[in-house]
Symmetry: C2
């Protein structure tokens, strides 16, 4: 096999490193880009470079942002005394999509996971406590919105224990049967949880 | 929904324009890139820019190349008098992958398609004739490797007719039953073609 364009091969190789992109889709994307205008490709390349250049972490909540503090932390309309604690900044995006929660966030940056050598000090837990203690805005409720796996549960319990010393209401998002499914297809753990967490109708 | 990073949104938007990439995968890629080193992202962006900058068409065969004429056209080992005519430069890559064909290529840049306003003059057919007439290397055989659809067939017939005036052998790649399938699943047109093109065992 003889290659006529090293530049094409290099682009394919780089694109194939992206998640969810095999060599075939990388090739398709590279050939698509070859057919686009110089400007279009420059715009794409620039948007990727800007991504690394302008994006940093919000010093208050820990989510990614172009300006510190982030637009959620500086939005006075979101000053309702409620802070939602999540594992990763992606979770902020997922929750924002629901348009349900109108308070602030606090991104831990992971969960306690002894196997991966991640302890409480590696997460933004100290910052959370400081925020509750020092914040100008009085924080009245902390919602724990961690993933319902072993690490998420452990982290939630740990934070819950620490927060006992503070005058805040601590809540968790509800774990139970997802909407639109049938009980038949739900695992026992979820079903047990749904029973334990049943609410008054 | 409140967005905390315009740069992230812009990158997602640009990535979502790529073929086979919806907003979800674009988001996944952008977040992946955020976690990579500045260098890695710069390498990717540069490879895309270089793609547009260094890649051009080979003036002899019409395939894409970093240097004109391309490495296949200048490879003296491939001087065997055989030229394989294909529709698009992607086909060169596909045929090269088989390591079967060791001659040169000629990329038409499409097929005759009156509905799309593409006539013989829009393709590199004149260049093919000129190549057969003028080339220092004597061309003894032209293999037509066009797609077996209406446009490919029409184009093959058209070129075949033109080449009657030249002293070259004209052949076509075999169209028939693909390897590894069962006759049961083959359409009638392919099966008829396989019968018509049967070879001595």
């Amino acid at each position: 096999m003889q290659i006529t364009s090293e530049a094409l091969e290099r682009a394919i190789e780089e694109l194939a490193k992206l998640p969810g992109t095999g060599r075939k889709s990388a090739r398709r994307i590279a050939i698509y880009l070859l057919k686009q205008s110089d400007e279009r490709v420059a715009t794409l390349a620039d948007s990727l470079l800007q991504l690394k250049k302008s994006v940093s972490r919000c010093s208050v909540c820990g989510t990614i942002t172009d300006s510190d503090p982030c637009s959620i932390c500086t939005n006075f309309k979101r000053k309702n005394g409620i802070v939602c604690v999540v594992e990763e900044f992606q979770d902020v995006y997922i929750i924002e999509k629901t348009n349900e929660f109108r308070g602030r966030y606090h991104v831990l940056g992971g969960t306690i996971s002894p196997l991966d050598n991640i302890g409480p000090d590696n997460l933004r837990i100290r910052e959370l406590l400081q925020r509750i203690a020092d914040s100008e805005e009085e924080i009245t409720e902390v919602i724990l919105a961690l993933n319902p796996d072993a690490e998420g549960e452990a982290t939630a319990y740990y934070i819950n224990k620490l927060l006992q010393n503070y005058d805040v209401k601590i809540t968790r998002i509800a774990y139970g049967i997802p909407m639109g499914t049938e009980l038949e297809f739900i695992d026992e753990v979820t079903l047990s949880r749904a029973f334990a967490s049943r609410t008054v109708f």
